[in-house]
């Protein structure tokens, strides 16, 4: 297993490097802008004294690399903020402070994160089941009526905006049939059952959209592996079509699915704004939109960093899954 351990180490190092690169880009994009950075950071309603204070905290007088180093230091060891009257400590992954609300950015994000993670992970399970299932089925039944119907449905799925599906689901399920209450977020730790019931519709509507692209990808990958020589081998040995498709072809088709899933999970954590807004879920996406609207720069930067972190993390997990599924990856 030493080869596998080495692979994990190399992958972890790669993840750290990517995260650092993201932090540089985010820093440059947001803090090396023309105009008065301190004013923008502080917000439009800041007094000149406050702006001055912010400029000092961001070390705007110092050269660029010192300012970035300061920013990085905050991320890794934390930093102290003076709010004018007292000094506040911002602990290790310090993403700064919102000058509009006085809250620490990390606290704002941590408050919203469980909602987004609940939404995305639950939806992920659904979209994988639906997407892979449909994809396998339509590859298997290729050219028959059932495949055409499935293709049409998934195409419609890709083309329908989430607020249409979500609205229709809500009107039908909650309004007309009254099977479920209108969704309202409940903490998992408070009541797991209510948590699941309330998230069911958001999960479904997010999953239905995503499942369509998974179905199409799975179908394409399945058709490719089904044409490979080793599939012919197992058919020529009388292995039942069910096992040929489910065991051999699907295994070969999973790699691109894992990759797509990593990207979608990572970006949906910060990017499922529409679903969150539609169902009134106080998640990261909604908060990000709000922060952009009121120009709360520290919060925006923090959110972008966290979203980037999840994308990178999801991709790292995907790479490890790859390697577990196919040991040849470790050799490369």
């Amino acid at each position: 297993m030493s080869g596998f351990g080495g692979f994990l180490l190399r992958r972890a190092a790669g993840t750290v490097v990517t995260l650092l690169a993201i932090s540089v880009i985010v820093y440059v994009v947001f803090y090396v802008t023309p105009g008065n950075v301190a004013q923008i950071t502080c917000g439009p309603r800041c007094s000149p004294e406050q702006v001055h204070q912010v400029a000092e905290q961001l070390k705007l007088g110092d050269p660029l690399y010192v300012r970035y180093w300061h920013f990085l230091q905050g991320l890794f060891v934390g930093q102290d903020f003076s709010t004018g009257t007292s000094v506040e400590h911002c602990a290790a992954p310090c993403l700064g402070q919102s000058y509009q609300t006085g809250q620490q950015v990390l606290d704002i994000i941590l408050a919203k994160l469980p909602v987004s993670v609940s939404l995305v992970l639950g939806a992920m399970v659904l979209w994988l089941l639906l997407g892979i299932g449909t994809g396998v089925l339509s590859a298997w039944r290729r050219g028959r009526l059932s495949e055409r119907v499935l293709t049409a449905v998934t195409l419609a799925g890709t083309a329908t905006p989430v607020f249409v599906i979500g609205l229709v689901l809500m009107i039908v399920v909650c309004g007309e049939l009254q099977l479920l209450p209108f969704p309202q977020y409940v903490n998992f730790s408070d009541d797991p059952e209510q948590w699941a019931w309330n998230l069911l519709l958001p999960w479904l509507s997010l999953a239905l959209i995503e499942a369509a692209s998974f179905a199409r990808l799975t179908r394409a990958a399945m058709l490719e592996t089904l044409a490979e020589d080793h599939i012919r081998t197992f058919r020529a040995y009388g292995v039942a079509e069910r096992s040929v498709v489910g065991r051999h072809a699907l295994r070969g088709a999973l790699a691109p699915v894992i990759a797509l899933n990593a990207n979608n999970v990572g970006s949906a954590i910060g990017g499922a704004v529409l679903t969150e807004t539609l169902f009134g879920l106080p998640g990261i996406g909604q908060e990000l939109v709000h922060a952009v609207k009121v120009v709360d720069l520290p919060v925006v930067v923090g959110m972008v960093l966290v979203t980037g972190f999840f994308v990178v993390l999801a991709n790292a997990v995907a790479d490890v899954l790859y390697a577990v599924a196919d040991r040849r990856v470790v050799l490369a």
Binding site: H230, T233, A236, Y237, G238, V239, S243, H248, R328
Partner: protein, 558 residues
């Protein structure tokens, strides 16, 4: 169905008898009974009214060039064309199953259990994601009601039978961890798992080195003797057929050209096509004639070494090799895969820098690519850009040289196309419009465009059929005589190399094993490795093949 042909096969009775009658006759019926088989893919008729039969325990070789329909026949025996859109006509009866009429269930019971197939490319024919032992066990459990554990034990058993060392441990390896020969053994093991009555081997040794090929053919021979199973061997290599089959059926354009006992057909072919095919097969004892070799040294490698990898993983692909090529002379480089012959070729052309030693061109040390030394590659499909016309590809060296005059370039390319036996008007066509042999001619034209003094040909004919192979070899010889080219001919096929070479370098594990005039190396090989290589070349004479096989077995037993 054409009655004439069925009657011609002489075994029409069995095919026309009703199902009940057929069951009664099963005991003394032949193992395979193909009557008037046709397979059509769209407008293409791949198999056109073929009839043959195979008795229990007998071995028949289907021999033909690519496109002759031989592999299609093999697939039809197991009903593999079902659901692919191919139209199959005629009757196929294998081990008592009417393949055409059988239900899916009956077909599955036939496949693997009574008739098992071994495929050409053992790497792509095994699932890369599962351990080899698990794949064999899975197939075994399809046909035998046994526990997972028992199936796994059976897999280890058969792997051991086909000569995989330390089978219990190796059964847990995945296909990429096996060498080519071991993979082919593993596939044969899979075929053996259910003790089939018939083994269908589709080009089982085409991807393998000669010595490994000999081992696999010996293994098939031994297994047949032990288990009494029948063998249907599909091959393009007449030598392989002579080694392993009792009867031979020569196919062309989906039809049978000639059939009979191997020895009789090969000794005295009745049909012109069979004769043509046999004449095109390079003989390992045929000398080169009419060589324009001179004493003027064109290309020289002295003590070259090339390492790949760094630190502990570094290994020398080529180690201390010195060769010279003279004007008008052909140097043959033979060796098995991994012997370093391609690496040597790339260093001679300047595509790779030697780690040590030097390459001299016309007496002076030379580094980097040299327009006067060109290369022709093995795979004429992948070495031409599919998105550019062949004329553009051939014009590349001219443009690289600084030629800008469009009209002159076109004219020169036309000349080159005609020189290699194509038409000047082919300039604007794309690679996919040409056959394999034509594409190799295009590759040669491209090499000639730079007016080289030396050409390194890396396996230039190994992807081609024997008749095409002979034409390309003849073209190279002609060009050499006309232009005084120095040629380096790299190949794993010892017979082809003999045919074209003045001198031969035998390589093994990066080192030069034997180096000298071709006739000396082939007629009186000094090194045991060279002797072993030559002994592994399939003989066209079945009797000689049997004697050689016995000889190979004796030292192995001792």
């Amino acid at each position: 169905m054409s009655r004439m042909e069925a009657a011609d096969a002489g075994r029409a009775g069995a095919a026309d008898t009703g199902r009940a009658g057929a069951a009664d006759m099963r005991a003394d019926m032949s193992l395979v009974e193909v009557t008037d088989l046709t397979v059509e893919f769209g407008a293409l008729r791949a198999v056109d009214g073929l009839s043959f039969s195979l008795a229990k325990g007998a071995a028949l070789a289907l021999v033909g060039e690519s496109g002759s329909g031989k592999s299609t026949v093999a697939g039809a025996l197991l009903g593999l064309h079902r659901g692919t859109g191919a139209r199959v006509g005629g009757a196929v009866r294998v081990a008592g199953t009417d393949v055409q009429a059988a239900s899916e269930e009956e077909l599955r019971r036939l496949r693997g259990a009574r008739a098992a197939m071994v495929f050409q490319d053992p790497l792509s024919s095994l699932d890369p994601y599962y351990a080899i032992g698990d794949q064999i066990a899975e197939v075994y459990r399809v046909h035998a009601r046994v526990s997972r554990r028992a199936a796994r034990a059976r897999a280890v058993d058969v792997l051991d039978r086909v000569g995989i060392p330390d089978a219990a441990r190796r059964s847990r390896s995945r296909p990429h961890e096996f060498s080519g020969g071991m993979r082919q053994r593993a596939l044969i093991a899979m075929a053996l798992a259910c003790e089939p009555d018939l083994l269908i081997a589709d080009e089982p040794t085409t991807a393998l080195d000669v010595t490994v090929q000999a081992q696999i053919l010996d293994l098939l021979h031994g297994l047949r003797a032990e288990t009494g199973m029948g063998l249907l061997l599909v091959t393009h290599d007449v030598g392989v057929a002579a080694e392993s089959a009792d009867d031979i059926l020569v196919m062309r354009h989906g039809r049978a050209v000639e059939r009979g006992p191997v020895a009789a057909v090969l000794a005295a072919p009745a049909e012109p096509y069979t004769r043509e095919l046999l004449d095109a097969v390079p003989r390992v004892d045929a000398r080169r004639t009419g060589s324009p070799a001179t004493d003027e040294v064109v290309l020289e490698a002295t003590g070259v070494r090339r390492e790949f990898g760094r630190g502990k993983r570094a290994f020398a692909a080529v180690d201390d090799v010195s060769v010279t090529v003279r004007r008008g002379e052909t140097l043959g480089v033979v060796g098995e895969s991994g012997s370093g012959k391609t690496t040597l070729g790339r260093m001679l052309v300047g595509l790779l820098e030697p780690t040590a030693g030097e390459i001299r061109y016309a007496g002076r040390p030379h580094t980097g690519v040299n327009p006067a030394v060109q290369m022709v590659f093995q795979d004429p499909v992948s070495s031409l850009n599919p998105r550019r016309s062949v004329g553009e590809s051939i014009a590349d060296p001219l443009r690289a040289r600084g030629d800008r005059d469009e009209a002159r370039i076109r004219g020169r390319v036309r000349e080159l196309l005609e020189r290699v036996g194509l038409e000047g008007a082919h300039y604007d066509r794309y690679p996919h419009e040409f056959s394999g042999g034509q594409r190799q001619r295009i590759g040669i034209a491209r090499a000639l465009a730079a007016e080289p003094r030396a050409i390194v040909c890396d396996e230039p004919v190994s992807a081609l059929d024997v008749t095409t192979q002979a034409q390309v070899v003849a073209l190279l010889g002609e060009l050499q005589r006309e232009l005084g080219l120095a040629l380096v001919f790299i190949a794993h096929d010892l017979a082809v190399v003999r045919q074209v070479s003045d001198r031969v370098a035998v390589m093994r594990r990066g080192r030069l094993v034997e180096y000298g005039p071709a006739d000396e190396v082939y007629d009186t090989p000094r090194e045991p490795y060279t002797q072993q290589l030559l002994a592994a070349v399939p003989a066209l004479d079945p009797e000689l093949a049997a004697r050689r096989r016995a000889a190979r077995r004796t030292p192995a037993a001792a």
